[in-house]
Symmetry: C2
Subunit: 91 residues, 2 copies
Amino acid sequence: MSDLAAALDVVGSRWALLIVERLLEGPQRYGDLQRDLGVPTNMLATRLRELEAAGVLRRLPLHHNTRAYALTDRGLALRGAIEELARWARG
Amino acid sequence: MSDLAAALDVVGSRWALLIVERLLEGPQRYGDLQRDLGVPTNMLATRLRELEAAGVLRRLPLHHNTRAYALTDRGLALRGAIEELARWARG
DNA sequence: ACAAGGCACTTGCATTTTGCAAGTGTCTTG
DNA sequence: CAAGACACTTGCAAAATGCAAGTGCCTTGT
């Protein structure tokens, strides 16, 4: 399995990179991600679980039943790849 | 729609970036892509059609019923993004 | 105290995408 | 002129994605 295939195993599913891109701007709450990205709620829940399991992001408890999602160092390291893809789309 | 979302619309489907990565090594024939990537034949046919329509690659007729697939300039421009993703997987 | 609403999800089901296996048509080679 | 390579297509099953409604917890207003 190539390195690229390994990367796509983690961030290749629909919405994954868009979620990470949004989190590059700072920690966000579930409802914010949902509204800003227009991602179906069940998909968002699934992706956040997968990305957390993959070490890309982590939950930050805020209070009572609210929390924020923030990128780990591993997640932040995706910035280069995301910027290259966005640049390609503009190019 | 963000730039990233636009990029993923073109190369975000399964196998798309893996096909492009393989073509970065030079033009390849259908059977080679199929064997090297292990991609199902109907998916390969579909992706090649989409990527050609998107201007990422083009068909090069070789002779009789054989042809090769080669990246266009637009396809070659994906090199940076692919390398960043592969680097991320290694990192 | 109690109703109403925000928040972070889950659940059930329809639709779309992906995958497997087998088949098709054309051309070349023995 | 049979056999095989090549580049696909087709039919159907499985998995991923999407839509809409519902759940449980906590806060805020009255």
